[in-house]
Structure formats: C-alpha cells, structure tokens
Amino acid sequence: MKTRIKIQTAPFDLGPELEEMSQGAGALATFTGHVRGEDGIETLMLEHYPGMAEREIARHIDDAARRWPLLGVTVIHRVGELKPGERIVLVAVAASHRREAFAACEFLMDHLKTTAAFWKQEQRGTETRWVEAKASDDNAAKRWK
C-alpha cells in the first residue's frame, strides 16, 4: 500500500494529489475539510506537535489498512495561518471497491479529529479563541471500536 503523509504550511491542489492516487484503483474516496467563514472568523491558526502529529496519522493509516484492503492513502494537513474557504485537510483512500474506500476515509477523519496532535485557534479582529474539542467527534471515533 502506498502511504503519503504531509503536514505543511503551503496550500495544496486537489487535482495532482488525486490524479496520482487514482492510478490502478477501482475506487477513490476523499474528504476535504475547509475553514468555514461563518461566525466572522478572519483567520484560523493551526498549531501541531511535529513528530507526534505524523506518528498518530501513520498509526491510524496502519489501523485502517488492517481493517480493510487498501491500495493507497494520502493525508495532507495544513498548519499555520489559514483564511476562510481554504482547505485544512485532505484524506484520500484508494481501494478496489467503494465500501472499503468510504469506510477507511471516514475512519481516518474521525481519528484525525480526536487524536492527531493539532490545535485550532480562531481569530476575529483582535480576539482569539482556542477551538474546543467536540463530544460529537469523540462519539464518531468511538463507533469504530
């Protein structure tokens, strides 16, 4: 299985990333998360724990690959300063069949949300607020136990 994990400050395009993933796979499921502009957010600052963030993502990819037959997984997560509308995260899963691709993609997103070492801070004007973890995300991750 081909695995790619990138944590980067630079924006990324979907086309080239997904084009490469598609090669040889019957099914490709992807998820892209964006900074929502609602509530007047002007900037989203993303902080991470270098080393641990990558390790956690790699661990969840390994877990997913043990559960489902996968052909490839790409996870890209941006850090630093993001503006509304920008992509924060991409999870792309290639498999032979759609059921596995969808399941693994959702599994990875649920675990990214609850254990990968990233923190978000919203900035509105001069006001800043650390985003709090959501119980709904914990519950989503628990579905897979």
Partner: protein, 83 residues
C-alpha cells in the same frame, strides 16, 4: 527531561518547550504536573483543571499515571482539534 507545551498550555506557561530535571520522586506524569504547578502562576494556571488537559509521553498519548524518566519527552496540551 524534555517538556513541550501546545495551544493554551503553551500560552499560559509562556514558552513552547524547556528541559527540566525534576527532583527524585517524580515518577509519573501526575508527579511532574504537581512539581511544575509549584514553579509559578503560569504553570499553576495551565495545570489548574486536569480535566481539560492531555499529555503525551514520547509522542504517544498517555494517562497521568504513565511512568516517566529522565530521557523522556513529555508534552502537555488541550484535547486536540485538528482535521
């Protein structure tokens, strides 16, 4: 022992990382928290509510009862909010 702080833990303590040599008897994450809390108001504030705090030992999520040693990397942070 290398300590790392993230998000509001980092802000309250006023630094992102430091090397410390805790006294003998600091054998778990919880012991370390107790030791750090006494170092000043920033630390005390950061560690005031353990229900809002998470820890990692050597880049793996760890409970407060996890054993720690001099060569370990210990990190403190709020529940994660990535993705």
């Amino acid at each position: 022992m290398k300590l790392l702080y993230f998000a509001w833990v980092r802000q309250k303590i006023g630094k992102g990382e430091e090397d410390v040599k805790p006294p003998a008897g600091v054998a778990t994450v919880r012991d370390l928290i107790r030791h750090l809390t006494a170092l000043g108001p920033g630390y005390a504030d950061a560690f005031a509510d353990l229900s809002r705090l998470r820890a990692a030992v050597n880049q793996e999520h760890a409970g407060f009862d996890a054993p720690i040693g001099d060569d370990d990397e210990i990190a403190f942070f709020p529940p994660v909010t990535g993705g």
